[in-house]
Amino acid sequence: MRIFDPHVHMTSRTTDDYRRMYDAGVRALVEPAFWLGQPRTNPGSFHDYFDGLIGWERFRASRFGIRHHCAIALNPKEANDPRCAEVLRTLPRYLAKDGVVAVGEVGFDAMTAEEEKAFAHQLSLAAEHGLPVLVHTPHRDKAAGTRRTLELVAASGIPPERVLVDHLNETTVDMVDGSGCTLGFSIYPDTKMEPERMVRILQRRGLDRVVVNSAADWGHSDPLATARTGEAMLRSGFTRDDVDRVLWRNPVEFFARSGRLLLEELAPYSGGAFAGNSILRAQHAEPDA
């Protein structure tokens, strides 16, 4: 099983997770920029976080044989803090980078006027930079938030196939399906989807335009939720090719629209050598607290 996890916050995960993900078949992922659990108070805090997403985290993933990409944005929650909103001015520098495959996560949290303003502005940045968009749909008042999301997407003029609307469930799937956007499902304990429910949705509407992610972060979550879903699909009679389509080909097709995917095969570091000198060796890295 080869897996592309299109939504996972690796900054919050350990090296054990990277190792287990590689063993389960994860070879590439997208880490969208989001809230760290602790609110930020200034744009510099975002810049350092973005630097980590395109720098250290990509390097760290590469040591475990995993291609790390990211999406960059001001997230909906922090769009409400005027001290943070200024980061919108620096986004174009980051949106020009290799491995930045989408604008995201954007969308709604509490459905405020500030959130809508930041969302609309970032949709226009995505159009300008030729990037797909990864949209977070809210936990509270999800159906209304999703409906307004689709209105803003339609108004932006961005073709729906370049927009991934995420964290969907049984109550929002049909609405988004009708829009032509790509459908994202987060298999996340307690609050979002579960593998068996995901299988029922796939059985009902088919595999087209569907991507599945773990959305694993600093909360109770599971970076192997994608693999668990693939296993549940196989148990329910889906073929290996069906699983490959949902867990690899669909997300690759979506993010390839950025023209910025870095998917060359990457071997996990095992003391190999280049020109007689080992590089990127995890074992000898200087310990830093």
Binding site: H47, D51, I54, G55, W56, R58, F59, T90, P92, R93, Y94, A96, K97, D98, G99, G259, R260, F274, A275, N277, S278, I279, L280, R281, H284, A285, E286, D288
Partner: protein
């Protein structure tokens, strides 16, 4: 589009845009891999540890074009813009900025920002940046203490000492003492002493024994 124009070198296009609109380098610099190409440079090393990659060379050309465009008249502006390329660069862009430092006009912008950028690169643990910080004549901007720590850090980060510019000339007694300490620590732990550590010892041997 006229059919009699030969296809243009994509790098020439980028250079021309930077000369016309220097500020545009902020979004053109990151696009070099996509627009111009990727791959190992003359060193054959795709990671750019042993020498500049294709992207590093193209990005150095962009920095040179920026310096030409801003002219000697605006060293402040040049320092600010090159500093921002580094500040907002991903690891590959940062590596390229470090490798482009010798291309900046001497005495002006380069000397103003070089020490800060090199120190930043040596604080991190990315071997590509450590190698690039020590890999050009711009490393002269590091004081001896910082330079020795950078060289020693190569042993911890698996940066081959071949990547260090002017190693034999600058290696001194103090570096020999530090390398000897490193070797002793490895031996006490029952670990092998890497060839590069032995090389540092032999480079500084005469001085340490004196």
């Amino acid at each position: 589009m006229t059919s009699d124009t030969a296809p243009r070198d994509p790098l020439d296009d980028l250079l021309e845009r930077v000369r016309r609109e220097p500020k545009a380098i902020g979004v053109l610099f990151p696009a070099v891999g996509r627009e111009v190409g990727r791959g190992p440079g003359p060193s054959g090393d795709p990671e750019g540890i042993l020498g500049p990659t294709v992207q590093d060379e193209a990005r150095t050309a962009l920095v040179t074009a920026l310096a030409d465009a801003l002219g000697d008249a605006s060293p402040d502006l040049l320092a600010e813009e090159v500093g921002a390329l580094y500040r907002f660069g991903d690891a590959e862009e940062k590596r390229a900025v470090l490798r482009s430092l010798p291309a900046l006009p001497g005495g002006g912008a380069a000397s103003r920002i070089a020490a800060g950028l090199l120190a930043d690169a040596l604080r991190g643990n990315d071997p590509r940046l450590i190698a690039a910080a020590l890999g050009t004549p711009a490393a002269a901007a590091l004081d001896d203490h910082a330079w020795r720590h950078g060289v020693l850090k190569c042993l911890f980060s698996d940066v081959p000492l071949d990547a260090v510019h002017g190693l034999a000339d600058r290696a001194d007694t103090e570096l020999g003492r530090m390398a000897a300490g490193y070797a002793a620590e490895r031996e006490a732990a029952g670990r092998d002493v890497p060839d590069d550590a032995r090389r540092l010892l032999s480079l500084t041997h005469g001085e340490t024994e004196a």
